[in-house]
Symmetry: C2
Subunit: 172 residues, 2 copies
């Protein structure tokens, strides 16, 4: 049975929600990474992702500069690192170094790939729109990587206060 | 460790992926419902959802007509109904009646609310863009409902071939 409720209260029923890490590099060559929960696949041919990224984020400025980024699926072993990079700004800090995230060079784009992620998608910027209070960055996937550990699973936000964990399907 | 791979193969690492049901009503008053996996929240003030909806879907045509729809979080008890409404077109069939989904009137928009869902978000159309091969429908939430059963959880696509199930967080 449904009851009328506040929009914000109903939104608390959304968990678990997927989370991705987005890596970028600025024009001086400094890498950055942030956590993004507002994301979805939005095209299959070519494959594209949409990302909700705040205008004030270092990542947003880097994307404006290079038109390139990497969408990375953090593994359920990366909760601590994901929480850290989602909690601080990258302008004055080296979030990748501080978080301990291991990186390697991408094949095509000018941004790092995360070695311990479940998968990495190198993206080129397609467009930015702003229907509400947040810019929506759409990127076309131009190259892909996956973890050699086939059993490694994605990380999710499983509750309020940025509670992060892996999830498992239950039997119906 | 990362290995280079096909984009499609890397995308198989995305599961579990959230799924929503989108209800609409055409100008003749006939209700419809479809399943959408390409969805995310894209604004917090006001709250907005983005939905990837194929141009040929009955739902897309209904949204063009009324500029209104409902985004519903199916519960993990609604796997059968979600699979059904995601598998057939609504032009010549009554998917809501055939699926057995129970509906009630929305408060503001001209589309039905799903009684057994985890939550329902009444939406008004904000914009439609098409960065890739699929239109992206952005709707602003204008009214919300939630299930009176506080323990009811969302349904997810947990693997290929539209495998649907509930999920539970695991301990880190």
């Amino acid at each position: 049975m449904q009851k009328e409720t506040d929009i914000e209260k109903a939104l608390l029923r959304k968990y678990p929600e997927q989370v991705v890490l987005v890596t970028t590099r600025n024009k001086e060559g400094k890498n950055n990474v942030m956590a993004v929960g507002w994301t979805a696949i939005v095209s299959s041919d070519p494959v594209m992702f949409v990302l909700g990224i705040d205008e004030e984020a270092c990542t947003y400025q880097n994307i404006l500069g290079t038109k390139q980024f990497v969408v990375s699926f953090p593994s359920e072993k990366m909760a601590k690192e994901t929480l850290f990079v989602g909690s601080v700004h990258g302008y004055k800090r080296d979030k990748i170094q501080e978080s301990g995230l291991e990186i390697q060079e991408a094949k095509i784009v000018n941004a790092p790939v995360l070695v311990d992620a479940v998968a990495n998608f190198e993206c080129k910027l397609v467009e930015i729109t702003k229907p509400g209070d947040c810019p929506l960055v759409v990127g076309q996937v131009v190259y892909a990587w996956e973890n050699t550990d086939e059993h490694l699973k994605r990380l999710y936000t499983v509750g309020t206060d940025h509670k992060l964990a892996g999830v498992r399907p239950i039997e119906p």
